[in-house]
Structures are given as C-alpha cells and as structure tokens.
C-alpha cells in the first residue's frame, strides 16, 4: 500500500493506493494522527485506487471520526469510493457517519464552506 498526502491548507488529501487491511491500517492511522498533530482536522480520503478494505481499515476511519466529533472540529470525508467498498461501510452501518463525494472539487467545496 502507498499513501500520498497533500496538505491543501483548508483540507488534507490522503490518496490511498492498494489494500486496507490489518497489515496496512496502522500506517493510515499514523498518517491521520500526524495530520491532527499538525492541526489539520479536515481530511479528504481518495479511495479510487483502493482495491479492498477490511473491518480493521474501516475502524481506523470510524475511530478518528469519533475523535473529531468529540473535539467538535474537522471531519473525514471520502471521494471516489467503489460500490464494493461502499457496501462494506453500509453492512456495518458506518456509511451514515461519513460524507461520500464523487470528486475532489465537490468535497473541497464543502470544506471551504465549513471553514468560512
């Protein structure tokens, strides 16, 4: 798995390439926590090149979203999520906890509005 992280001031974009499972999920968690340390709490995750996500991967996003809600700041949102991945989120009821956008400009617009 590979992570490409771009900090765009109003939000950070994390592009994940490969599988998200028990082996790779800790690396994603570490990347999100590093962004939080740098006071970046608005995160867009690009799932276009993610071939698979397991429950351990889903929990990384759920637990960090939970942290943001407790802190009352920021949000994690997804773009380019495939049907298969979406079904995994839906099966365990976590699809309601996140915003899913078709593309980056639409997601970025949302964070611009939040930050205004």
């Amino acid at each position: 798995m590979e992570l490409i992280i771009t900090d765009c001031v109003q939000y950070a974009l994390i592009k994940i390439i490969g599988r998200v499972d028990s082996y790779t999920a800790p690396e994603i968690n570490q990347a999100i926590e590093s962004l939080f340390t740098e006071k970046q709490f608005n995160i867009i995750v690009d799932m276009q090149d993610v071939s698979f996500i397991s429950s351990s991967g889903i929990l990384v996003f759920v637990n960090n979203q939970k942290y943001l809600r407790q802190q009352k700041q920021g949000e994690i949102a997804f773009i380019h999520i495939s049907n298969n991945l979406c079904i995994s989120f839906e099966l365990v009821g976590f699809h309601t906890l996140f915003e899913f956008y078709d593309d980056l400009p639409t997601a970025a617009e949302k964070f611009k509005i939040i930050n205004q």
Partner: protein, 137 residues
C-alpha cells in the same frame, strides 16, 4: 481440492486474498460475490491471528478450497486456542457513534457475506472454520 499453507501474520492477508480471489473467479462467481468471499476470508484470517494465536507468527493458517457445481467451500484451519465465532456477541451497528463499541465486526461480515459459517474444534486438529458460498444467490 486446493490447499495452501500461509504464515499466521498480517503480511499473509494480501497473499491469501490473491489466492482466494483467483479460485473464486475460476469458480464463476460475479465480481461482487468474489469481493464478498475475499472480505469474509480476510476477516476470518485476521481473527485467527488476533484471537486464536493472539499475535503474529505464532502458527500457520491452512486454507482448503473445494468447488462443487453449486458452491465454494473454504476451510480455514489453525492450531491456536479454541475460538468459536458464535461466542462473540453481535456488534452494535445502530447506536450513536459516540457510545458505540466496535467489536465483533469481522464475524458480522463473515455471517452477512457467506451463506454458511461453521466452526469446529478438536484437541488434535485445532480450529476449523468452514465458509460456504452458493452460486447465484
């Protein structure tokens, strides 16, 4: 029947997925069915490492895959401590995020995505988890 042994560690999960996806595709399952089988097997193997072996590189995971006209049967065998998925309470997937305890998701995935999930333990052979997916359901 196809049979393959994998080291019981998280790095094996990608290799196990490749192995299962190939066999499920060859058996004629649709892409969403293949993804469902891949997810169930990944969750089962992660549970073996986490709960039966309670850590990585303690023991191996033996996977046996057999195909019949109407189904694919996947047996996952380990020599860890007894781990019956039925003993794990179902996850809470409806409470508000703030109070929800996220446990048992892997087993929930297995039960939702496969048609049959069976567990067996013997002192001599260890744990055997059997996952069955029927074609065209």
């Amino acid at each position: 029947m196809n049979r393959k042994n994998f080291p019981g560690n998280y790095q094996s999960l990608a290799l196990i997925s490749d192995y299962i996806v190939l066999l499920a595709e060859e058996a004629g399952f649709t892409s969403s069915e293949v993804y469902a089988i891949q997810t169930a097997v990944d969750e089962a193997c992660a549970n073996i490492i986490d709960h039966a072996y309670e850590g990585e590189n303690i023991g191996a995971i033996l996977i046996e895959v057999s195909e019949k006209k109407d189904r694919l049967t996947i047996k996952l065998k380990d020599t860890g401590k007894p781990f019956d998925p039925d003993d794990i309470p179902p996850p809470d997937i409806t409470s508000p995020l703030e109070i929800r305890k996220e446990r048992g998701l892997g087993i929930f995935f297995m039960q939702k995505l496969m048609d049959e999930v069976k567990y067996d333990f013997s002192r001599s052979k260890g744990n055997t988890l059997t996952l069955i997916k029927y074609k065209g359901e």
